[in-house]
Amino acid sequence: MNPDVVSAIDKLVREGVLEPRASVPLRRAALGSLVSVGEELRILLAAGVIVVMTGVGVLVKQNLDRIGPVAIAVVLGVAAALFLGWAWRRAPAPSFAFDSVLLLGALLAAADLAFIEVKFTPLGEHWTWHLLLVAVAYAGLAFRFDSKSLFSLSLTSFAAWRGVSVSGVATPWRSVVGEDRLLIEALICGVIFLALGKLLESSRLKPHFEPVASWLGSLLIVGALAFRLETNDGRVLVAAALAGSGLVLAWFAWDERSVGRYAVGIGAIAVGAAAVAGEVIEYLDLGRNAFLIVVVLLAAAVITLILRAHRSLKASA
């Protein structure tokens, strides 16, 4: 219930902005005499999917020896096929539960594939490739059913494949230490996702998937570099890279008027600059207070930048 909206509707009807008949449903909704629970039911569906998948995970883990791997693989496969088959028949007219059933089917299929790989090792030493298969399958389903959720899962599965593969697959940076190998893979994935986002947008194939790919790409690049700051070796270089990538992200995001990604870019510049300053202050032995002064100044700079951006956005609107 929103009493301010109720009184506003009455005022707008008196002033002739709203027609009395058209205002009736608006007034009912504002008064709380008509309430929509559509989103709550969607949340219940999503919770159901997550709980079922958790149950399946526990089943596989706890009862493997008793039930036997073949039976589990068959049951998971049949369940996945049932859900995906249902979704296939309903498309392209998605119903209320469509997204949840599709997601459940895809997740069950991926769980089945992972289980088969662990138990029967058909891919042998190339076991990590099953994550790529999952990523491709998710992407196929995402494009077929126009599902952003599955497209996101496809990208994260791809990133997981690269993450697992760093010590299992030959790469030119194999001699690099473990954490840096993960960093390089994360940066490559981030760039691929950003490029994919641009491709989807410019080719008009699935332009509404672009924000998913761009957001994941940006977060992967910034997150991986920020995470790497915890390690002392080469911190200045990583911090400078973080500030630089933040600058590039903010630059492109500003061009596209993507305020959220612009904020991520500015944040990355600030964190990178603070880390560089921290290293310099430590090298020159200027003490903790010098670092605190830098943090205060950087915070002030960030707020100033935000206010300028806000003014500019307002003026252009």
Partner: protein, 382 residues
């Protein structure tokens, strides 16, 4: 709360509703423009991304500023004075931003308000060191509640309530106090949080207080919290195990409270109470499963998940099957609200819960370069 800030808050509620009506095509573009002009925004508001960044920058910068002054004054014993001065500085900064600068949803004023509260509590604790915890807790609750009332932040109202509950948990009757405060949630959420006399920000504060009190009452009756002495552990020098006679009322409360909350939610069509009732139902079922294992965990989880799916579909069909697609004032059809944020949160939860973890496989599982696949390959087994 300042009168101009309260008016701006009320106008924003109307503009938000109008955008919802426009999205649902209940009004046209011209009507929307008329409404936006009639309920004009005089505040400087930032989008979510910039707001979060501005808030973080102000919070980190403000914290660094406190640290900087603290390192200068702490050694000279000026800690309490510094805390008082900082409280005044951040209070003035918040007032200046909300007042003359006309900021709302700008992030920075939120951060300075939180810093003012933190410094205020710090000042109180350092000025009255050695006083009983109850006095400290009560003073902190009042201080935070005053800040919530002045600036209208629901988070501060929730923190003040939690602080008050922790204060109440001291002594022998902490659990009784939590339980006794629970019924207050209903008038708070159903009457005070709907009162037209209060601006939307205060109504959100009252709803947050009600929700925390109701949750506290549920925690107080739950047998698991009773057995593990959750509330009693908050008190200094808590006693032994729970008395046996408390078990039956606790079990009865755990069974009865979820349907009671759901019934009130349906009767008064309150979505917040509906969500609380659903969560209490889930918690009661998990508690039941904890004390009376019915089948293995995987079966409980799978059946529970399927029940959620079936219930959602059944309710949806039941509501949609009614003559005007509504029953008892409920509908499953979208109304005039903008729920993009809720959907984004839902998608993010699914993504976080279901994404495979990106990790480096342990080197020990693989044989390095020069393995069976050739020079560059690896030949470890999974």
């Amino acid at each position: 709360m300042r009168a101009d800030a309260a008016r701006a808050d009320r106008y924003k509620a109307v503009r938000d509703a109008a955008h919802g009506w426009r999205n649902a095509r209940a009004i046209d573009e011209e009507q929307l423009r008329s409404i936006v002009a009639a309920f004009r925004d005089d505040r400087g508001r930032l989008g979510l991304g910039l707001r979060i960044l501005a808030g973080l920058a102000a919070f980190v910068g403000g914290g660094a500023f406190i640290g900087l002054l603290g390192s200068i004054f702490w050694s000279t014993g000026g800690g309490p004075v510094l805390a008082c001065v900082m409280t005044l500085v951040f209070t003035a900064a918040t007032e200046y931003q909300i007042g003359p600068l006309r900021r709302a949803q700008g992030g920075a004023e939120y951060a300075t308000a939180v810093l003012a509260v933190v410094c205020g509590v710090w000042a109180w604790v350092s000025l009255f060191k050695g006083q009983p915890f109850v006095l400290m807790g009560a003073a902190a609750s009042i201080l935070i509640a005053l800040a919530a009332w002045r600036w209208g932040y629901a988070l501060l109202a929730a923190v003040a309530t939690i602080c008050f509950l922790v204060t109440c948990s001291q002594g022998n009757f902490g659990r009784v106090a939590w339980l006794a405060l629970g019924p207050l949630a209903f008038p708070l959420m159903l009457r005070s949080a709907r009162s037209p006399r209060r601006p939307p920000a205060h109504r959100r504060c009252l709803a947050a207080i009600g929700l925390i009190l109701l949750t506290a009452a549920y925690v107080a009756v739950n047998p698991y919290s009773l057995d593990h002495r959750w509330i009693e552990q908050l008190a200094e020098g808590f006693g032994g195990p729970a008395p046996d006679w408390l078990r039956f009322p606790a079990i009865a409360g755990t069974i009865l409270m979820p349907p009671l909350v759901l019934a009130v939610a349906v009767r008064y069509r309150n979505r917040l109470l509906l969500a609380a009732g659903a969560l209490f139902t889930a918690a009661s079922l998990v508690t039941l499963r904890r004390y009376h294992p019915i089948g293995p965990w995987w079966l409980s989880l799978t059946l529970g998940g399927i029940a959620c799916l079936a219930l959602a579909v059944a309710i949806r069909r039941w509501l949609s099957g009614a003559p005007a697609r509504e029953r008892a004032g409920f509908t499953a059809e979208p109304l005039f609200e903008d729920r993009r944020a809720l959907r984004a949160a839902q998608a993010a939860t699914t993504l976080i819960a279901m994404s495979p973890a990106a990790r480096a496989a342990p080197d020990a599982h693989f044989e390095g370069g020069g393995g069976r696949s050739g020079g560059g390959g690896a030949s470890g087994g999974a």
